[in-house]
Structure formats: structure tokens, C-alpha cells
């Protein structure tokens, strides 16, 4: 007996809390990846990141409506189309925003913060005017619902597994994109030395636009995945923005591994504390610890050594 629980129960708790933490971890990684690219690589603070996520969620909603009315036979696989659409929509909007707004502000990060906050307000109201103030529900195909029962107590939700798989896939994709492709090479070259990159013939403006678009596109996919576990409403995006920024900063801006490591530690800490204390206190304690550590170690967990 450990506390109120028997030994098997206790191991089940550990297993299930571990899984809950992993789900949270995947969600955090999905949210933070796009931001880590935009903030870490370009130094742009995109406060409208949450709204790009919600755009993806609304695209998924539209897709589910469309498939259930016009293509009910394909409904079980609509989610894959929805994710592609979510990515495309956010990617295009991201490029548009970069072209119309961000490119004028590259040397003024604090101003990007204000401008994108304004953008987020506009997007929120636009969603409200288009989709209505009420939250919309996305119907999931049957195979994504339900769970796999391992023991009496331990049950693994399928949508949790799906989100994890998706996260792993996207993380790998981003890794190969950034470190193993020509495009990634160009992007890193621009980050490290814009002038030199331009001098060797890289179209730096295009790289900027693609990078920003990509970050937003990943946010769109995150939003799409979010419809499986969360809600879709005009203001839902704002809830995530602080968490997301903290994850990126805590991980050390510019470091992809750092972002993943910080998402992992924050999510595990939060889900463990949640089990013993109330959800509110768990959140306060986790955020407080993160802020405390950041005060002691402002560069975050991992840092790239860049000569400034």
C-alpha cells in the first residue's frame, strides 16, 4: 500500500499520469514548434500565433461539415484532408501577414509584438463575425474516438495516440526540413548572417516569407489536432499564447531540441502536480517554477552559441 492506493493501482497511476503527461507534451510541442521557428529563427514575436491555430481548427470544422454533407462515404478519413487544408490556410495567411506587416518590422521585435497583438484582435473579431460567437464542435470519425484497454484501469485514448504520432511526424519533418534540406540550409544561413546569405545568392526575402508561413502552417496543423481534445471558439487561441511563449523561451530560443525538452519537462511537471494538487495550483506552481528558473538562467535550457 502506498498512501490510499494498492501497489497495482499505484503503478497504474504512474502509467496513466505518464501518458497524460505525454499527451500534454505532444500538445505543447505542436503549439510551440511553429513559434520556435518564427521566434527562434526570425526574432519575431507572433502574438497572433493562437489565432493561426484557431484558423486551422475552423478549417477542420468546415471540412467536417463539408464531408458529412457531401462526401459521407469518405468521412472516416476527412481528418487528413482537414489537416492539409488547415496547413494550407494558415501557411497562406502567414505569408500574407509577412508580406503586409512583418517584413517592415524585422529590426523591431517589440513592435512586432504590438502589431501582431493587433492582428490577433482583428482575427478574433473576424472569426466571431464569420463563424459566430458560439463554440463549434467538430465531429470525429468513429475510429478516432474510444480507447484501447490495457488493464482494468489503464486505458489509452486513441486520439491521444494520434496526436502523439502526429507530433512525432511533424517534429521529424521540421528537423529534416531545417537541418537536412537545402531550404533549411538557406534558412539557417539567413539567420546567421543575412548579408552574407544575400551575397551568395539566397533570396533572403523569400526565405523570410516561407519561414514565417511555415511557422504559421504548423500552428494550423496544431489547431486541427486540437479540435480532437479542445474547443474551437473565436477567443480560444488567446488561452495558449502565454504557455507557448514560456515553453519556447524556457527551452532557449533558437534551439529545436530545447523547445522539445522544455515542453517535456513542463508537461510532466504539470501533470504530476495536478494529480496531487488541484489543477489551478498545478498551473501556478509550474509557471512559477519556470519563471523562477528563467530568472536564474535567462538563456533557457539550451542555447545556441551565436556571436551577436
Amino acid at each position: 500500500m502506498i498512501g490510499d492506493y494498492t501497489y497495482t493501482e499505484f503503478t497504474s497511476i504512474l502509467a496513466m499520469q505518464g501518458f497524460a503527461g505525454l499527451t500534454l507534451f505532444s500538445v505543447f510541442v505542436l503549439m510551440a514548434l511553429g513559434l520556435a521557428i518564427i521566434f527562434g529563427q526570425m526574432g519575431v514575436i507572433n502574438m497572433a500565433h493562437g489565432e493561426f491555430m484557431i484558423l486551422g481548427a475552423y478549417m477542420t470544422y468546415l471540412c467536417s461539415q463539408f464531408f458529412s454533407v457531401y462526401l459521407p462515404s469518405l468521412f472516416s478519413i476527412y481528418f487528413f484532408f482537414a489537416m492539409i487544408l488547415a496547413f494550407a490556410a494558415s501557411f497562406l495567411l502567414g505569408m500574407l501577414v509577412e508580406w503586409g506587416l512583418i517584413r517592415f518590422l524585422y529590426r523591431r521585435p517589440l513592435d512586432t509584438l504590438l502589431a501582431t497583438w493587433g492582428l490577433s484582435l482583428i482575427l478574433q473579431q473576424a472569426y466571431r463575425s464569420i463563424f459566430g460567437a458560439r463554440e463549434v464542435g467538430v465531429t470525429l470519425p468513429d475510429w478516432l474516438m474510444g480507447s484501447i484497454a490495457l488493464t482494468d484501469i489503464i486505458e489509452i485514448p486513441i486520439n491521444g495516440l494520434f496526436v502523439m504520432g502526429l507530433t512525432a511526424l511533424i517534429t521529424l519533418g521540421v528537423y529534416f526540413g531545417m537541418f537536412r534540406s537545402n531550404w533549411g540550409k538557406r534558412m539557417r544561413a539567413v539567420v546567421q548572417n543575412r548579408t552574407m546569405a544575400g551575397a551568395v545568392g539566397i533570396n533572403t526575402k523569400m526565405v523570410d516569407r516561407m519561414t514565417f508561413g511555415l511557422g504559421c502552417g504548423i500552428a494550423g496543423i496544431a489547431g486541427s489536432a486540437f479540435t480532437m481534445i479542445g474547443s474551437t471558439g473565436p477567443t480560444a487561441g488567446q488561452l495558449y499564447i502565454v504557455d507557448t511563449f514560456l515553453i519556447v523561451v524556457f527551452g532557449g530560443a533558437g534551439s529545436l531540441i530545447g523547445t522539445i525538452a522544455s515542453a517535456f519537462s513542463i508537461s510532466q511537471a504539470q501533470s504530476t502536480i495536478e494529480f496531487f494538487l488541484s489543477g489551478s495550483m498545478a498551473k501556478v506552481l509550474t509557471l512559477l517554477t519556470v519563471v523562477g528558473i528563467l530568472m536564474l538562467r535567462p538563456q533557457g535550457l539550451f542555447t545556441l552559441k551565436i556571436r551577436r
Partner: protein
């Protein structure tokens, strides 16, 4: 306690025959007064916005911000009621005009706008507010400038202002009947209390816990999550371990969607009722966001469901859908908001005056036999006597009413021993 109800059906049927089905007729003690019978100078001695033909009221809800999601239905219901009253001849023969203000989900804005409605617009009554926080913010304003607020939301109680008529249920009305029902009908022995972290769920759970413990049953856990939280896996794990008979959930807003989706994904099948889920915070409005398939099989305990089979409600639902679209849904709060203008009209006509003090004095005892929820009456403490019902959630987002209390339940905002 037992209330002799006057059957409203004969009147309503006649109204149907007369072709005004959408205008529920009102019955109350004295006969309605007509405009010509009450001179403006007599009906309005305190300088309210009343003319010979019109009377101005205020509607104060959030149209923007996070609460807009919830408050939209209330605004729609209040406008419908005002339209119907006007079509039926208005109040004391005067047409109701309304000034709508946006509280913007921001409490000081509510206070500011309430003050504007009372001080600048001199409105004779205000229909509005949704969250407890917004009501608390406007309360001093209504008390200082002596206004009248009709507040539609089910809430935590612990309040009894002479300047507010609470048309939703206070916590004991909503909670105790529901818990009694699951204990009696489903043999529930243990409960897991869960809520969003603010005053209503916390107070409601306190009342629930006291009642459960008084019945000699067990509370196996109690948990709160910040508003807007979307990760409930930890509490779901705790529920699985403690194996309570009933999950008593008071989750609000966007968190609802996450909670029910994750509950279902974690393999807790609500239709098996092991554990059974009982909520007091999910109305048809919320189900729309959650998705009927995610919550089907859960039970909700409140005073109104859209599917109530009485004639009043059928007329109300069809009028509401005619005005706001076929796909609109009506939840408990929306119905309570609809009662506001009607209760006010009845009180004004009983008092023969728009004066706040006279309306207040006339309010206790006002009854509405045409209420969609059936019959309601205003208690001395400004809350409504009402029935509590248990709804069983269906896939299509509606509830089957499986139980309703035989008697009207007396509102008791300051329950002894529950505080």
C-alpha cells in the same frame, strides 16, 4: 410548499385558435391596465424614461469577448419577449423600447454601462448580466441609483438584493433535487465533485458536499481547474481510480468541450452510467459546442429543457426559432432570460406604475402561468419558485426529461448549514 397550479392550457389553446400562438397570454391577479387608464404622470413619478406611448428598458449583456458565446442566447430571448409584449399591446399600453449595451465580458464595463443605462437613459428596468462577477460589479450601481435588474443565470445564491429579480435558479434549487434523484433512482453512493475554478462551481460543490454527507454518502474527490483549461487527463485518471458512482461536473465555457471529449476518449462511456455523470452547467447551448455524441448519456439537473413537452414551451420554441433561425437552440438560461420582461410587465401592471419601488413591492407573488418552463412565481426573496428537472442527454444535442419535481421548489439563497 405545495403550490396549487392554475392550468394555463385552456387559455393558451384559445390563444392558438385566435391565431396568436406566438404570443403567450398572461394571467395574473388583477386585470391588465390600459394606457389611457394610467396617466404618465401617475405611472412614473421618479423621472424614468416613460412617455405616453413608450417605455425604455435596457439590455446589458456581452456581445464581444469570451462571454459573448454564452450571453447571445439571453439577448435573443429578451428581444423576443419584448417583441411579443409589444405585439400584445405593450406594458400599461406603452410600447417597450430597448437600449442595448455591450458589457464586453469585462466587469468594470458592465458597471459603467449599467450606470449609463440608469443615470443617462433612465431605463425602467434592465435585463442582463450573465456571470456572477458581472452581477457583483453592477449590484452597487443598481442599489445606489435604485434600478431594477432581471438576472437570468442559475447561480451560487448567497445574495438577495432588493434591486434584482433572479429569474434563474439559485444553487440549492438546482443541486439538491438532482442529488436526491441520483441517490434514489440510481442508487448512487459516492460522488466525485469537479468544477471550473470560480465562485459558482465552488459554492455549488460546497452545497452538494454538505448534502451528500448529510445523506451519509461519500465524496471521493473534489477538483478545480482554471477557466479555459483544456487538459483534464489527470482528473480523469483520478476518477478512474476512485471509481465513484457519480461524476458531479460543474465545468463551464470552453473547458466543457475538452472535458467531455477527453472523458469519452478515456473510455468512460456515459451511456453505461458507470460512473454516471450529473452536471448542472451544461445546457443545450453548451452541448452545441461539445457535440451531442460526446455527452450523450449524461444527466443534467436544471429547471428547463428545450424538449419540455408543454404547450407554453412549444409556442415559445417555435417563436424563438422563427425569430432567430431554425438551428438555434434554447438552454435553461435563455428561457430564464425570456421570463424577465414578462415578469417585469406583470409586476408593472399589478403596481399600475413604472416606479421602481412600486414594482419591487408588487413583485413578490407575481406568477406566470405562461412560462415555457410551466409555472413560476416570485418569492419574497426575489427568486423564483420553480420545478427542477433531470434531463438525459441525447446524441442530437437535446435532453429527454426523465424526472421533474412534483412540487415547486422554494428558493433559499442563504441555506442554513450549507454555508
Amino acid at each position: 410548499m405545495r403550490q396549487k397550479t392554475i392550468s394555463p392550457f385552456s387559455i393558451t389553446r384559445r390563444a392558438l385558435l385566435a391565431g396568436i400562438a406566438v404570443l403567450p397570454a398572461l394571467t395574473f391577479a388583477s386585470a391588465p391596465l390600459r394606457a389611457q387608464e394610467v396617466a404618465t404622470a401617475d405611472a412614473n413619478t421618479t423621472g424614468l424614461a416613460v412617455t405616453d406611448d413608450t417605455v425604455t428598458v435596457g439590455i446589458l449583456h456581452s456581445i464581444t469577448g469570451t462571454m459573448a458565446i454564452s450571453e447571445t442566447g439571453s439577448v435573443e430571448a429578451e428581444k423576443l419577449a419584448i417583441d411579443q409584449i409589444n405585439a400584445a399591446g405593450g406594458v400599461l399600453g406603452r410600447k417597450i423600447e430597448y437600449i442595448q449595451e455591450d458589457g464586453a465580458s469585462d466587469w468594470p464595463t458592465f458597471a459603467e454601462k449599467a450606470k449609463k443605462l440608469l443615470v443617462e437613459n433612465k431605463t425602467a428596468a434592465v435585463f442582463g448580466c450573465w456571470t456572477s462577477a458581472s452581477r457583483k460589479a453592477v449590484l452597487p450601481v443598481f442599489e445606489q441609483y435604485n434600478g431594477m435588474l432581471y438576472y437570468p443565470t442559475f447561480y451560487e445564491g448567497l445574495e438577495e438584493s432588493p434591486n434584482v429579480i433572479y429569474t434563474g435558479q439559485e444553487a440549492t434549487q438546482q443541486i439538491i433535487a438532482g442529488i436526491d434523484w441520483v441517490v434514489r433512482e440510481k442508487g448512487a453512493k459516492s460522488f466525485y465533485l469537479l468544477g471550473s475554478d470560480y465562485i459558482w462551481p465552488r459554492t455549488a460543490n460546497k452545497i452538494a458536499r454538505k448534502h451528500i454527507e448529510k445523506l451519509g454518502l461519500k465524496v471521493s474527490g473534489e477538483d478545480y481547474y482554471p477557466l479555459g483549461n483544456t487538459q483534464f487527463n489527470s482528473v480523469i485518471n483520478k476518477i478512474k481510480l476512485k471509481k465513484p458512482d457519480v461524476i458531479y461536473a460543474i465545468v463551464v465555457g470552453g473547458s466543457n468541450v475538452a472535458f467531455y471529449k477527453q472523458l469519452k476518449a478515456a473510455g468512460i462511456d456515459m451511456s453505461k452510467e458507470k460512473p454516471l455523470l450529473l452536471t448542472i452547467s451544461v445546457t443545450e447551448d453548451e452541448v452545441r459546442g461539445i457535440g451531442g455524441e460526446n455527452i450523450a448519456g449524461a444527466y443534467a439537473s436544471m429547471k428547463y429543457f428545450e424538449s419540455l413537452p408543454n404547450d407554453n414551451n412549444k409556442a415559445f420554441v417555435s417563436a424563438f426559432k422563427k425569430m432567430w433561425g431554425e438551428d438555434s437552440v434554447i438552454g435553461d438560461v435563455t428561457q430564464a432570460a425570456y421570463l424577465g420582461p414578462w415578469l417585469w410587465k406583470a409586476a408593472v401592471e399589478k403596481a399600475g406604475s413604472f416606479d421602481i419601488d412600486k414594482v419591487r413591492a408588487a413583485s413578490p407573488g407575481i406568477e406566470l402561468t405562461t412560462a415555457p418552463e410551466g409555472y413560476v412565481r416570485i418569492h419574497e426573496n426575489h427568486h423564483l419558485w420553480s420545478r427542477t428537472r433531470i434531463g438525459h442527454a441525447r446524441e442530437d444535442g437535446q435532453f429527454d426529461v426523465v424526472f421533474e419535481t412534483k412540487d415547486l421548489i422554494e428558493p433559499n439563497p442563504f441555506p442554513e448549514g450549507y454555508q
